[in-house]
Amino acid sequence: MEDMLFYDRMQFAFTITFHYLFPQLTMGLSLMIVYFKWKFLRTNTLKYNEAAKFWMKIFALNFAMGVVTGIPMEFQFGTNWAKFSELTGGIIGQTLAMEGMFSFFLESSFLGLFLFGEKLLGHKLHFVTGFLVFLGSWASGYLIIATHSWMQYPVGYEILENGKFVLNNFGALFSNPWLLPSYLHNQAASLVTSSFVVAAIGAFYLLNNKHNEFGKLFLKTGVIFGLISSLLVAFPTGDLVAKNVAKHQPVTFAAMEGIFETEDGGSEIVLIGQPNMLEKKLDNKIAVPNILSFLTYQDWNAEIKGLNEFTKDVHPTNVPGLYYAYHIMVGLGTIFIGLMLIAVVQLFRKKLYKTKWILWFLMFMIPFPYIANTTGWYTAELGRQPWLVYNLLRTADGASPTVSSGNTLFTLLGFIGLYLLLGLLFLMLAGKIINKGPQLNNH
């Protein structure tokens, strides 16, 4: 029974982590493509249109990966988490079904038009189709996060005698206090990913002395979008999500921050340290006093409960994992802001295109927004453990009763193999598109 759950969790974690590598770029990039196309309509400068077309190629490839890895997600609630689906389907099924009906149809219908319809439609309508693709992908994110928020902070439900969760207030699903901060934070974070990718490809062209005109355009657009989104991720959105966790999941918050003991007169913020679960303390700690209390409650002396005040059975199952995930995310977020700030300053001093070290730095940053996004999700998910629906349904009670661990391991291995192949193909083909670069005057 125990290891059956383990494989179910591994499979879900693996497939969702892989899936989410793609939509984060889809959502951010769709906005940036719409921006390029809009610039083209306004200025009638061909390079903006070519920029939009170039990124559409990457987008199409990335989208295809998002779609093929997304379909297994939709199935997996039923295949691996049957009990969970049976008990909560009447509620989270609402938002997931809405996602299919409202956003996937929108995206997929207009993506075909956007990719193949430029000549048929003319530029204005082509812009509109691009905008609708953007709208679809952001709506998809919204409904997914609405689903997820309900699992973190259940609202609008009632539990029947047979254990079933039934909906009694549809509106509550969307006025969930968890939803809006999470959504904005997540969307800002996906814009961080796309900005870094665009900037990095720009830097790559300049360092290569190839496609210089586009290199400059991408770099400029990338760092400006990058600075704005990095700031938004930290403040106000990151701050708001963290406050939600502190308020509604205090034990999760303590574990995330690495606070074992409640401190009188305000808690310190931990910058570095390794959770020592045997002695229930943090090793090699570097911390700044009272900051955490202030950040969370705007009060230097506010009390923050430490982990040791909660009984063991409600502790997050993997405290060190949660702590590291959170600190990696926040640490990277700080680095992003710093780097983008320097880059934008250099841009305005008209030195960015020649400052080699920043270009190299930006180019090598490509993986890090992905890491920050993934660790962000690990923070959310590990923080929710041991619950599937916070405080109401334990993960152990949600798995499929009849699917044996041998079968789950078999399919997990299959997914690993298949996704490895997908990942390699994606990198290879994206590399090819990037190396070829945008074409000016190609018709």
Partner: protein, 358 residues
């Protein structure tokens, strides 16, 4: 309310089969009949801008199943675990075959993805037919062994096959001779359907040949359908009782046979869409007749201990189902608008859309 969502779900699934069905069929034609590069291009062009939206009907049907009939979703998705995951893998292969083929111009690269696309399409058509077979045959709900349920009454698990391949065995499998028969019907019917789509949407050189293919396959299809009707009573002793109780249901078999026999005139159709219309009728009628025959069951039980799953005992709560109607009504209108726009822009022959050229 349950009945409303049942009709919605069945309609969505039928639309899925009709739309993604022509993609699968086109894939099968691509595998067996398209030899020249130009013909292959024509086929992928004819489905290129559509297949993704077509697949969304599957995802959306899954979503509606999840939300309106959570118990059925949970029971069937965990019980049909292995075939579903295999279907997922096939869908992935098919999609990347289509999308990646045009990215590199190299004979071997193209050959690999052509085969991936074609074979995955073929197997998917087979598996979807097998799936339908499993639903009408029913499953051992509660995994009853020696007269005792080993699980909750609405859960089960099926291996891919059992040694005897019989739909009657004590221990059932996904694949037995009955479900396989429906699988083969699925392959033949979708091949015809896909061929009709290609004739409709392209000026390809193989179109004349495809008409012959359709004619011949249609003979096979008639034989297989009759065969399946002859053996149907083995899995369900009274296959016609619903039709006797509710004679208006005969409309569905009539639609099926109109489609089936209409197709024999394939060579004389003047307008190219007519053939596609008839294969659509056949698919729609075949599916609806099948589900109508087991109504209101949605997953019959093969043992006498646990009751059948019916649309009434697997549905979500009344409130959720009622609010769903509001957003669903809005969504359906929007989806219809998208489809009209999509098919308007890509109307007519599509040989030169340039799908997959980057």
């Amino acid at each position: 309310m349950e009945l409303f969502w049942y009709i919605v779900l069945m309609t969505m699934l039928a639309i899925y089969v009709i739309l993604d069905g022509y993609d699968f069929g086109a894939g099968i034609i691509h595998l067996f009949f398209a030899k020249k590069e130009k013909d292959k291009k024509a086929i992928t062009n004819a489905i290129g801008p559509f297949w993704d939206a077509n697949e969304v009907w599957l995802i959306a049907s899954g979503g509606v199943l999840f939300f309106a009939f959570p118990t059925l979703y949970a029971s069937s998705f965990s019980g049909f675990y292995l075939p579903l995951i295999i279907i997922l893998w096939l869908l992935i292969f098919r999609a990347i075959g289509l999308e990646l083929r045009g990215q590199i111009h190299n004979k071997i690269w193209e050959a690999i993805w052509d085969k991936a696309f074609g074979i995955a399409s073929l197997l998917l058509a087979l598996f979807f037919g097998v799936a339908l077979g499993n639903v009408v045959r029913g499953v051992n709900l509660g995994n009853v062994v020696d007269g005792v349920s080993t699980h909750e009454a609405h859960y089960f698990f099926l291996p891919l096959w059992n040694p005897s391949f019989s739909p009657h065995a004590e221990e059932l499998g996904i694949i037995d001779w009955f479900t396989l028969l429906l699988g083969i019907i699925g392959v033949v019917a979708l091949t015809i359907h896909g061929a009709n789509w290609i004739i409709f949407k392209t000026n390809s050189d193989i179109n004349e040949k495809l008409k012959k293919v359709i004619f011949n396959l249609n003979i096979v299809l008639v034989v297989l359908v009759i065969l399946s009707l002859l053996v149907w009573h083995i899995i369900e002793p009274h296959p016609f009782h619903n039709f006797i109780d509710m004679p208006w249901l005969w409309i569905f078999p009539i639609i099926t046979f109109t489609g089936l026999f209409g197709l024999f005139k394939v060579k004389s159709f003047k307008k190219h869409g007519i053939g596609f219309l008839f294969s659509t009728l056949f698919l729609f009628g075949g599916l609806t007749s099948t589900v109508a025959s087991i109504f209101p069951k949605v997953l019959p039980s093969t043992n006498s201990i646990n009751p059948d799953l019916t649309l009434y005992n697997v549905a979500a709560d009344e409130y959720g189902l009622s609010v769903g109607v509001y957003w669903f009504a809005i969504a359906v209108v929007l989806v219809a608008i998208y489809m009209v726009i999509q098919y308007k822009v890509f109307k007519g022959k599509m040989d030169n859309v340039g799908y997959g050229e980057h």
